[in-house]
Amino acid sequence: MNSVDSKPATSSLIGSEADSQRTLYPYVTGTSVVGIKYKDGILLAADMGGSYGSTLRYKSVERLKPVGKHSLIGGSGEISDFQEIMRYLDDLILSDNMWDDGNSLGPKEVHNYLTRIMYNRRNKFNPLWNSLVLGGVKNGQKYLGTVNMIGVHYEDNHVATGFGNHLARPLLRDEWHENLTFEEGVILLEKCMRVLLYRDRSAVNKLQIAKITEEGVTISPPYALKTFWNFSAFENPTLGAEGSW
């Protein structure tokens, strides 16, 4: 019984065999999701890219999904974890429907439920590697919130994940206002998505915009944004360059 030789006490969660049970890093990821409140409800935008590291591997990934009657979810980060979250939400909505009473879970409830899941996983050192945007309308009340892999969650009039926080939110802070019409909302979102397309290396030029109102959910078919490269510096690239190297 030599205490010097005995193995130091380790938690089984931090041992190497337990690593196969934990998310260490993401593999196939989606990039930014941007969401805004507008007059009739919520608008969400996300591109359809699934990157495998720096490779833009999958180009038809649907990252915007309806949840029940009253909510829309957009997910960035690890795609397989997003699919897992969709399974949890499908089960949740199913149980909610099985009560068959007049009640239904609204976006606020779904957002809180997701927050509990994300935070709980984070506490177990096995996060769902996602940043989610959750928006919806119930009984005339609009709701837009976000929650990420560490459980940080909040609601606002406009939210974004990932690069969207740095590139889209400043635009939204300047140009968002109450009672945007649908057309104004789409123009604003497209402006944000275009900047992301220019500047985010994981962005692909194929996106969807989703709308949710009291009436229901509509997710647009995929389409591409027009981009503008006619900068004078691009037309005359060697102007001002000396010699050649």
Binding site: G102, N103, N139
Partner: protein
């Protein structure tokens, strides 16, 4: 009900298809002191008679706040009622933790009913000996439910459980009878010390009214009822409503004149809070008096079982 060879445990059916232990449990509810519940579109009122074992002891608590939006009044084995209230509080808190919104009343009563059902199908258990009047508010409005030891639940516009409620139920049922009833009631001794009242409503969390408030209500009710107030003094009208006794009397008159032929579950009455409370008192007084009226509520389609025997 008489003893028979099929009533020893809850897992024995009688040849007539009855579970006697469950029925005996429902008897226990009938032996408890009265509890009444009424609801309108925006409020639910629960009231119960205070029973204490002696003049020197405190009375048993029979009304419990389950959450800000739900309260329960019990009749029967109060210990069982206490335990079930604790369970209900837990359910509400857990729901709020996961969803940050209030548990809909309808779901709480189903969970409660399922819990009660378990006790009717295990040989090592006994049914809960308590009837619960669950009153609460949620997105779809104000609700009053009755949960019984059998595991059934029903939604009501107004209901009464416990001893000597036949008269009371009658009163609550026929709205035009309210008027007639007032005439038949003699100054029964109804004071704030013999009853407990609790209210939940839109913009008003569930709370038990304090003694003064109740006494005030009683007094106003008696003035409105034009009865010789031979009882204790009264206080002015309670929180929120600032009407004089005369106006309240007019209002009560106005409402007791038949406005609707019956209290219908499908169209809850749009009674102001005060009147709901007054109607409660009518009901109370009815527990001590036998009235000739019969109260019945139309059963909603959500009931899966036959009506309880009344």
């Amino acid at each position: 009900m008489f003893r028979n060879q099929y009533d020893t445990d809850v897992t024995t059916w009688s040849p007539a298809g009855r579970l006697f232990q469950v029925e005996y449990a429902m008897e226990a509810v009938k032996q408890g002191s009265a509890a009444i519940g009424l609801r309108s579109k925006s409020h639910v009122v629960l009231a119960c008679v205070n029973k204490s074992s002696s003049e020197l002891s405190s009375h048993q608590k029979k009304i419990f706040k389950v959450d800000d939006h739900i309260g329960v009044a019990i009749s029967g084995l109060t210990a069982d009622g206490r335990v079930l209230s604790r369970h209900m509080r837990n359910e509400c808190i857990n729901y709020f933790y996961s969803y940050e919104s209030q548990l809909p009343v309808g779901r709480l009563v189903v969970q409660l009913a399922d819990k009660a059902q378990v006790c009717t199908q295990r040989s090592w258990k006994r049914p809960y000996g308590v009837g619960l009047l669950v009153g609460g508010l949620d997105e779809s409005g104000a609700h009053l439910y009755y949960n019984c030891p059998s595991g059934n639940y029903f939604e009501y516009q107004a209901f009464a459980i416990g001893s000597s409620v036949t008269g009371c139920k009658d009163i609550l049922r026929a709205q035009d009878a309210l008027f007639a009833l007032r005439e038949t009631l003699q100054g029964e001794k109804l004071t704030s010390s013999t009853c407990t009242i609790a209210v939940v409503g839109v913009g008003e969390a569930f709370h038990v009214l304090d003694q003064e408030t109740v006494q005030a209500l009683i007094n106003e009710f008696e003035i409105a009822g034009e009865e010789a107030p031979a009882d204790e003094a009264a206080a002015p009208d309670q929180a929120g409503d600032s009407e004089s006794g005369a106006t309240a009397a007019d209002q009560l008159l106005q409402w007791t004149i038949p406005q609707q032929p019956h209290l219908s579950l499908q169209e809850p009455v749009n009674w102001p809070r005060t009147l709901l409370l007054h109607a409660c008192f009518h009901g109370f007084l009815g527990t001590k008096k036998r009235a000739a009226l019969v109260l019945h509520c139309k059963a909603p389609s959500i009931n899966r079982e036959r009506q309880p025997e009344e």
